[in-house]
């Protein structure tokens, strides 16, 4: 090989504490090194040109640049050597700035260390091989998991952009949490009125196929070519025939079915349509409460259904969709707040969650929008709101802020006053987090115009006083006193967690999730929509707590990512992936078992089982390489021999 080594001065950034000339002198003696140079700024245009010239002049077939971190300029220099006619992988970097000149005080030691890092790079480069990317076709179709406001926005944007959309929703209607809300902050406009039209658009859009009451069973494939199995849960109602007339629900004798859509503030019938604006507006039988399905006798709904849509024998069915991208928009659930024994742990009827309160306020809710106490149906006089229940609480392992509770609490306090002008609301808070547009103004209005009493402090305990009211033991840290309020109704701003089943979905999508179960974005700041699995994007609260505008924005952002990817007809893979030396492979399948991406499959080659890497799926982690005992699986650009060369350069 003919290797050229460039020791960058980076102005005085490196040359200040590293004797670059000496490093170059030492490097000259390394095997295969035929040329060294000491550019002032290698990354600057003159530096790059000089490198190209040197490659031509000295017929170099490999280049080492000792400069900053490869995370900074590896891509830059790879393009440089490529322009000069070399394969971009015949290039290595030695990080002598971040790892040497900026952290070591002694010039001697730094110089010695820099030379060694160059030696490692040269040793590796001598084992490098040219690598080339492969291209493959793309299925220009997207699957969106979750039909909340984020998923709806992604679906509509993609569909408008001409991309066919498969929208999968677990519940019987799309709309998500937003559909349950009465009003939205900071404008206090009706949630159903602004979300409703979007839901109707989804139903009517020719590019959108909706699978409601369905779950994702299995995902295989890779960016551009995913295959997704969808389990359509049995509704016991043939939706082809159901017109959504609601007769079944009217006639159903099983009237005490818990009403999940209303957050269990009321009851519904065993066959029902979750709410009047549901999309699709189709009935579903709750199998656990249907008399026909549990006891085998009833059949009332089947008798009355004008279209004969009831089918008690219905089973789950599986459909498979081929798509090129997947957007996860699976949203959130409230955490299980009953761990707070000091708030009654769920035993007190008038201590409720904020989402239950939304249903009590909503005109489509169980009380028709009449604000009453669940225990006795009376109108509450004193309503206490407690924030940060299950948020910012390390003692129960939930240190994170749920981000939107401050705002909806203010909204609910305002609505309380509007519903019951004689009432008085109190809000126990730690900090008011209102950084959005018109948000702080809104909380101020709650206090100034609606007379909501904000008290800065957490609540230690809530208990019934034996006379029908609840004692809320709080404190006012600004006053420096403990505070007690007798409340008729207590609303807990319960913190959020990733929706149930999120972890299982993450495993299927092969993406990561954080401690609270929220999906991990590729980069906290710069790649907030991407995941580390190519072709899988995130929208809405499934990625982290956010309010409606932010969810909608991320929904659109995910759609843009999909459309950008689909703008190309062919995709290129990263050639730094694993390959299997078939001669060495004994077909034991250890690599297949532990590949995090399912990127290795068994293949029968002339009657023998061998492992084969699916080049488009492999992400290049190299786990297979360190798993394979016979060294048959090797990761290109980080092969055993390449790393051994580095080890041998250091330890001998």
């Amino acid at each position: 090989m003919r290797i050229g080594v460039f020791i960058c001065h980076c102005g005085s950034n490196i040359a200040g504490t590293v004797d670059c000339t000496k490093v170059a002198e030492i490097a000259k003696k390394f095997p295969d090194v035929v040329y060294t140079a000491e550019p002032m700024y290698t990354c600057a245009e003159p530096g790059q040109t000089a490198m190209e010239d040197a490659i031509h002049e000295y017929r170099l077939d490999g280049v080492v640049v000792a400069s900053c971190s490869p995370r900074m300029h590896e891509a830059t220099f790879r393009r440089t050597v490529e322009r000069a006619g070399l394969n971009r992988y015949m290039f290595e970097m030695a990080n002598i700035r971040e790892h040497v000149s900026w952290i070591g005080k002694e010039k001697d030691a730094n110089t010695n260390k820099a030379a060694e890092l160059v030696e490692i790079a040269v040793a590796k480069l001598r084992n490098n091989r040219p690598l080339t990317a492969k291209t493959f076709d793309v299925t220009k179709k997207v699957l969106i998991a979750g039909g909340g406001v984020a998923g709806i926005q992604s679906a509509l944007d993609c569909a408008d952009g001409g991309v066919p959309v498969i929208l999968v929703e677990r519940e019987s209607t799309i709309g998500g949490k937003m559909a349950k809300l009465d009003k939205t902050f900071p404008t206090v406009d009706c949630s159903a009125c602004i979300l409703g039209p979007k839901m109707v658009d989804v139903a009517q859009h020719p590019n959108i196929t909706l699978h409601a009451y369905s779950e994702i069973e299995d995902v295989s494939g890779y960016v551009g070519n995913f295959s997704v199995k969808i389990r359509k849960l049995a509704t016991y109602v043939d939706w082809e025939k159901c017109t959504g007339c609601g007769v079944c629900s009217e006639k159903c004798p099983s009237k005490k079915t818990p009403d999940a859509f209303n957050e269990f503030t009321g009851t519904t019938t065993a066959v029902s349509i979750s709410f009047p604006q549901a999309i699709p507006k189709k009935a579903v039988i709750n199998a656990r409460h249907c008399r026909q399905l549990t006891k085998g006798k009833c059949g009332v709904c089947a008798k009355f259904c004008p279209t004969g849509a009831i089918d008690y024998a219905m089973q789950d069915s599986i459909v498979t969709e081929e798509v090129g991208c997947i957007i996860a928009a699976t949203g959130y659930d409230l955490m299980d707040w009953t761990v707070y024994r000091e708030y009654g742990g769920g035993a007190y009827p008038d201590v409720i969650t904020s989402l239950q309160y939304e249903r009590l306020l909503s005109s489509s809710g169980p009380t028709g929008g009449h604000l009453i106490r669940p225990s006795d149906g009376g109108e509450p006089q004193n309503v206490v709101f407690v924030q940060c229940v299950g948020s910012r609480d390390k003692s129960i392992g939930r240190p994170q802020c749920s981000a939107f509770c401050c705002m909806y609490t203010a909204k609910q306090a305002v609505l309380t006053k509007e519903h019951l002008p004689e009432s008085q609301s109190y809000v126990f808070y730690m900090d008011i987090r209102a950084p959005g547009k018109m948000y702080d103004e809104f909380t101020r209005r709650a206090m100034e115009e609606y007379g909501v009493e904000y008290i800065r402090g957490r609540v230690s305990a809530i208990y019934p006083d034996g006379l029908g009211q609840y004692v809320v033991m709080g404190s006012d840290t600004l006053l420096g006193e403990p505070v007690e309020i007798k409340a008729d109704l207590v609303v807990l701003a319960v913190g959020i967690e990733a929706a149930r089943g999120t972890r299982a979905l993450a495993e299927k999508l092969r993406i990561s999730y954080d401690k609270s179960g929220f999906f991990m974005e590729s980069h906290v700041k710069l790649k907030p929509v991407e995941t580390n699995t190519a072709g899988v994007f995130l929208a809405g609260v499934c990625q982290g707590a956010k309010d409606i505008p932010a969810s909608v924005a991320q929904g659109s952002a995910a759609a843009a990512k999909v459309m950008a990817l689909f703008a190309r007809d062919k995709l290129e893979n990263n050639p730094q992936i694993a390959f299997v030396d078939l001669r060495r492979c004994v077909g034991c399948g250890k690599c297949i078992r532990c590949c995090p991406f399912g990127a290795i499959k068994e293949k029968d080659i002339r009657g023998e089982t061998k492992a084969q890497v699916i080049e488009t799926v492999c992400q290049g982690c190299g786990l297979c390489t360190s798993t394979c005992p016979q060294g048959a699986a090797q990761l290109s650009h980080a092969t055993d021999n390449q790393i051994l060369a580095e080890v041998n350069a250091l330890c001998r």
Binding site: W102, R584, G589, K590, P596, C621, G631, A632
Partner: protein, 483 residues
């Protein structure tokens, strides 16, 4: 290039590209001063760090090795660090048995934003290594003179010669199945009455050659992978059957292809001790087994060998005299007292300090001929012709016959057996110069048992091998504190 003599020590870091390499960059950008000893090798993922890179570094002069990856759950590749955590923890608990101080190796998790933490880690790790001083090297160790005194552990059951085993029923059973099978693997009389040789029964006449008894020491499972894809039968002792189970688990033989014949085993002889007892001889006159002892007459001299004194150590500790499962089992498993005794080879090392262990291995391994008999006898060494010990690509080892190369091969074998070794002891039995290499495998097996819910290889073909899986929250692996 040497380290700065007297100033620096050789410290190698393997850092994943995404998190920990990033944290080192972040520390650099923040001008967070650090000791200069550490040399960083960038790898895509901590899961790419083969523990053997670390062993190789430590055998070849590294004074310390640090591996860093993304925090659990933050792996750029989802789960690479979860696998790394298991494998590196096994390694950490393996190093001391070689005589290498495990404080010289550390692994940890750090995110790209934690520059300050990186600075603290590098500083504290470097300080730690300096406190330990330069690593002693095997080639400089004074070999420990021959070590004696491995006390025999009590036997888990009465041992015998298997004289009354239903051998004829077994032969009958084999003959019945033989027409459907390519062959059945078993034992036959060897070159004299105190040795057996492998027997491949193809026709009913072959079956008559089958023998059963204390001389059936070899593990026939070693031949099984060669018949991959063919219908084959195998006669097994309890210990042999665990190897069969492992091969099934690793898809190296298919359950439907193999027919297992089993008899309960009463123990087999430790041939090295038999040899010692018989001394040099020319002719075996007679071998008679009564129930509990073997009476061997060589060159006219009669030797009594009670099984209780001459059985292999593994038979004394055996918890599975009967096959894990068999298609044609004959007889019931005898009662076994389940007691966990540290095998004597390992107990010997447990009693030594690190320096003594290094001296011990240095002395023992010098005798290694690099004949690879250990590898060839191992039923789990399925790489065969493609063993990394003698390949150029990848080139893990050189052909030099020095202590580090020899020991490195043993480390390769032991670590490749992690979670797979059933402790059949064939490696050690096959060693022509009698190096007690089984201890290394035993230490790995003990570690796997400690870390992964008492997992023992070779009992369940459907079990998930612990090193090919992970738990998000590991029950028995604790993150070490950095101070």
């Amino acid at each position: 290039m040497p380290v700065m003599e007297g100033k620096e020590l050789r410290i190698v870091g393997f850092l994943c590209n995404w998190c920990s390499y990033g944290s080192a960059d972040t520390a650099g950008v923040a001008r967070a001063w650090q000791p200069t000893d550490l040399r960083i090798i960038r790898v895509p993922c901590s899961g790419r760090v083969d523990p053997l890179f670390i062993v190789k570094s430590l055998l070849n002069g590294a004074d310390g090795v640090l591996v860093a990856g993304c925090h659990p759950r933050d792996c750029h590749y989802s789960a690479g660090n979860f696998y790394a955590r298991r494998r590196l923890e096994v390694l950490k608990r393996f190093l001391p048995v070689l005589g290498i101080n495990d404080a010289r190796f550390e692994y940890t998790w750090i995110s790209a934003s934690e520059g300050q933490r990186w600075q603290q880690m590098v500083t504290s790790f470097t300080n730690r290594i300096h406190a330990l001083g330069p690593a002693p090297r095997f080639e400089n160790a004074t070999p420990l003179p021959k070590v004696v005194g491995m006390a025999l552990p009590p036997s888990s059951r009465p041992l015998g010669t298997g004289k009354n085993a239903p051998l004829d029923d077994l032969k009958q059973g084999i003959k019945e199945k033989l027409p459907d099978l390519e062959c059945v693997i078993g034992w036959q009389r060897g070159y004299d009455g105190v040795h057996t040789a492998p027997l491949f029964m193809k026709i009913p006449e072959d079956v008559e050659k089958l023998v059963w008894g204390p001389f059936n020491v070899a593990n026939p499972a070693v031949y099984l992978p060669k018949f991959k894809g063919k219908k084959v039968g195998i006669v097994v002792k309890g210990c042999d059957s665990r190897s069969v189970v492992e091969l099934l688990q690793e898809h190296l033989v298919a359950r439907e292809d193999v027919t297992i014949f089993a008899l309960p085993c009463q123990g087999t002889l430790d041939m090295s001790r038999v040899k010692e007892k018989l001394g040099r001889y020319t002719v075996v006159d007679n071998v008679v087994c009564d129930e509990t002892e073997v009476i061997i007459t060589v060159d006219g001299k009669k030797h009594r060998l009670p099984m209780n004194d001459f059985a292999q150590v593994k038979c004394r500790l055996c918890t599975k005299p009967m096959a894990v499962f068999a298609d044609t089992p004959l007889g019931e498993s005898p009662e076994v007292e389940i007691a966990t005794h540290v095998p004597p080879e390992l107990a010997l090392l447990d009693a030594m300090n690190l320096d003594e262990r290094m001296a011990y291995w240095s002395g023992q391994i010098t005798r290694c001929l690099r004949c690879y008999a250990c590898r060839n006898a191992c039923p789990m060494c399925v790489c065969r012709d493609y063993c990394v010990s003698d390949s150029r690509d990848p080139r893990w080892m050189t052909q030099e016959a020095d202590v580090t190369q020899k020991l490195f091969f043993q480390a390769i074998h032991a670590l490749h057996l992690a979670g797979r070794c059933t402790g059949c002891g064939e490696c050690q039995r096959a060693c022509p110069v009698g190096i007690p290499i089984l201890a290394l495998r035993q230490q790995i097996a003990r570690t796997v048992e400690e870390l992964f819910d008492d997992y023992r290889a070779g009992f369940d073909p459907a079990a998930v091998p612990p090193l090919l899986s992970y738990e998000v929250e590991e029950k028995s692996i604790r993150e070490r504190e950095w101070k």
